[in-house]
């Protein structure tokens, strides 16, 4: 807090004689300035670093990197086993990996979202950002992009490990690369969807704990609900119902997409028919962009308040 006892620099109210502003050498910044793009870019990069605790205290690096280590560990084991036994293909398709480690992925997305979205709102520092030339829209976009990038990196790290392991084990490079690229594409969509869910909860709940439980509740409990519906519909020979239910959750959308784009199969009721397949792609994109849109709306309203 500024001390109220520093010497006043101005001579007080106008009209008082003897006042003077001393030139003690302060100069305004006159050098080149980055444009809006540069501001947004630096905000984005800081955000990506912050998701992993980089540029923050040592303590805040523990959680993201512990989760990352847990997430990569099975991939390392798989690669080790594959090379040891000498299999000619991976036991787990690339995109199946994220479905298997949903808990880690969900926890990561839920725990790191509040870092980018809740703090500025709760502590009121958001007004400092919005007082800069950067618009509320650009702020929200940069934050969302940073979170999505972080989640994407989290999803891709073990897949990359498996891919490199497969190449080193001299598996068919062309086939592996095609699968890897397909996994990259679906992971991008998944990261976008999860970033929207986590970002929205974080921007609304503010308290870290509630944002985390809200996000994880949506990701795990919502997944459970949809999976139950899909399981029942499969049992009752009403697969169509399951396919439609799958449209309502990021993880089942992801499973469906994996089914559409690759030959891996871990959806309970995979989308059938070209129309449904297209619908899965469209809804995934809409979910990611829709969440982003709501975020933009929230920040735009904050800016005009």
């Amino acid at each position: 807090m500024p001390s109220s006892h520093t010497e006043p620099r101005t001579g007080g109210p106008a009209g008082r004689a003897g006042g003077v502003i001393h030139d003690i050498g302060y100069r305004p910044y006159a050098g080149p300035r980055g444009g809006h793009g540069a501001i947004a870019r630096s905000l984005y990069l800081t955000g990506v670093r912050n998701v992993f605790g980089l540029g923050r205290s040592g303590k805040s690096k523990i959680l993201p990197f512990a989760l990352l280590a847990l997430n990569v560990l099975p991939a390392v084991i798989i690669v080790g086993v594959v090379t040891f036994i000498g299999l000619s293909s991976l036991p787990l398709a690339y995109p199946e990996y994220a479905a298997t480690t949903t808990i880690l992925l969900g926890t990561f997305a839920a725990a790191q979202g509040p870092i980018l979205f809740s703090r500025d709102l709760r502590h009121g520092t958001i007004s400092l950002y919005l007082a800069r030339p950067l618009s509320a829209t650009a702020y929200a976009l940069a934050r969302w992009g940073a979170l999505a990038t972080g989640i994407f990196a989290f999803v891709m790290a073990p897949i990359l490990v498996m891919y490199l392991g497969a190449l080193l084990a001299q598996m068919d490079a062309g086939e592996q690369t095609t699968d890897f690229l397909a996994a990259t594409l679906v992971s991008l969509l998944l990261a976008g969807m999860l970033a929207s869910v986590s970002g929205l909860f974080s921007a609304i709940a503010l308290r870290r704990g509630f944002a985390v439980v809200g996000t994880i509740g949506t990701i795990l409990f919502g997944y459970g609900v949809v999976a139950v519906i899909q399981g029942i519909s499969l049992e009752q020979d009403q697969e169509r119902v399951g396919e439609i239910a799958g449209l309502f959750h990021p993880m089942t959308l992801y499973a469906g997409l994996v089914n559409v784009l690759t030959d891996a199969d871990n959806a309970i009721t995979p989308p059938t028919g070209a129309a449904m397949e297209v619908l899965y792609v469209v809804v995934s994109v809409l979910l990611a962009l829709g969440g982003l849109g709501l975020l933009l709306l929230r920040y735009r309203r904050l800016a005009t308040r």
Binding site: M1, S3, S4, H5
Partner: protein, 304 residues
């Protein structure tokens, strides 16, 4: 009548020493805890209120240890610097809850009395979330007053409070002090302390730098002989002129350059040194007191 006693209290966090070997007694009346930001004032208040264990030494209230002794809160009213996070309660609900937690026989009446004391009766039906800073500060004070404590500890009570409400808070503290309560408040602003407290405890960098009557401290610092080391552009010329000045008792030319000056009357020395130097055209490169215990108090009091 209650007395808080610090006996050789230190508190450190890892390698950082927040409070260094402090011994003091805080008795009835208003005491100001004065020190710059980060001096350890909040740590001291946390130690007094039993919200921190001393790393070494003891803190007692009328002979009873305060750490892990919830019973002392019957006598202590604490106004933390921390904001009230119960923004969803009304001022009255909050103060009433405090009264109930103290197990008072008639919490309702105690609550109203406390609210009246801080002149918050009218606004008490509003939610705390809607209060201004000064109102929050007064509700916090009311919540600390409900059980009519003999000891009142306030951490930076005037921070961010507008001048009118500040006057009001000050007059309340003065009143509590004259009622025989032990009132201690912290501040980093000299004028605030001067207006309310006759008795001051000064902490600088975690050390107990001075204590006693404010005026007496100032006199002690100005009257006693002090030593200064002065680096100049022409030591010998300045030394010759200084020895002629009545405020100076002795001047020694230091072997490695510079002057060691013993000063009898600091007040006039502070005026004459620059005047003499200027008259001779000698540049003063550095003036520093060598008396360390005083240096810290001095630099703090003078710079504020």
């Amino acid at each position: 009548m209650s007395t808080l006693t610090f006996d050789k209290v230190s508190r450190w966090y890892g390698n950082v020493v927040a409070v260094n070997d402090v011994s003091m007694e805080i008795g009835p009346g208003v005491t100001g805890l004065l020190g710059p930001n980060g001096a350890g004032k909040s740590t001291l208040i946390a130690l007094m209120a039993g919200f921190l264990s001393p790393s070494a030494g003891t803190v007692h209230l009328d002979g009873a240890p305060v750490w892990r002794n919830a019973g002392i809160f019957r006598q202590i009213g604490l106004v933390p610097e921390r904001e009230v996070a119960f923004g969803y309660l009304t001022g009255r609900q909050f103060v009433q809850a405090n009264a109930e937690l103290h197990g008072l026989p008639d919490p309702g009446a105690a609550c109203e009395a406390a609210l009246a004391t801080v002149e918050m009766s009218d606004a008490a039906a509003r939610r705390i979330g809607t209060y201004s800073k000064g109102m929050r500060q007064r509700v916090k004070l009311a919540s600390a007053l409900v059980h009519d404590p003999g000891v009142l500890l306030l951490d930076e009570p005037f921070n961010g409070v507008d001048p009118r409400q500040r006057m009001h808070l000050m007059s309340l503290l003065t009143r509590f002090g004259s009622e025989g309560r032990t009132v201690l408040f912290s501040s980093h602003i000299l004028e605030e302390v001067e207006q309310v407290a006759r008795h001051v405890e000064v902490v600088v960098s975690g050390r107990h730098a001075a204590s006693g009557d404010f005026g007496a401290i100032r006199r002690l610092m100005t009257d006693r002989p002090n030593r200064y080391v002065v680096q100049t552009s022409d030591d010998r010329a300045l030394a010759a002129a200084l020895i002629a000045d009545p405020s100076v008792i002795g001047v020694v030319l230091a072997p490695r350059g510079g002057l060691e000056i013993e000063v009898g009357d600091f007040g006039s020395f502070a005026v004459s040194l620059p005047r003499i130097a200027r008259g001779l055209g000698v540049r003063l490169i550095e003036v520093s007191p060598t008396d360390e215990s005083l240096e810290s108090v001095f630099s703090y009091l003078v710079s504020s």
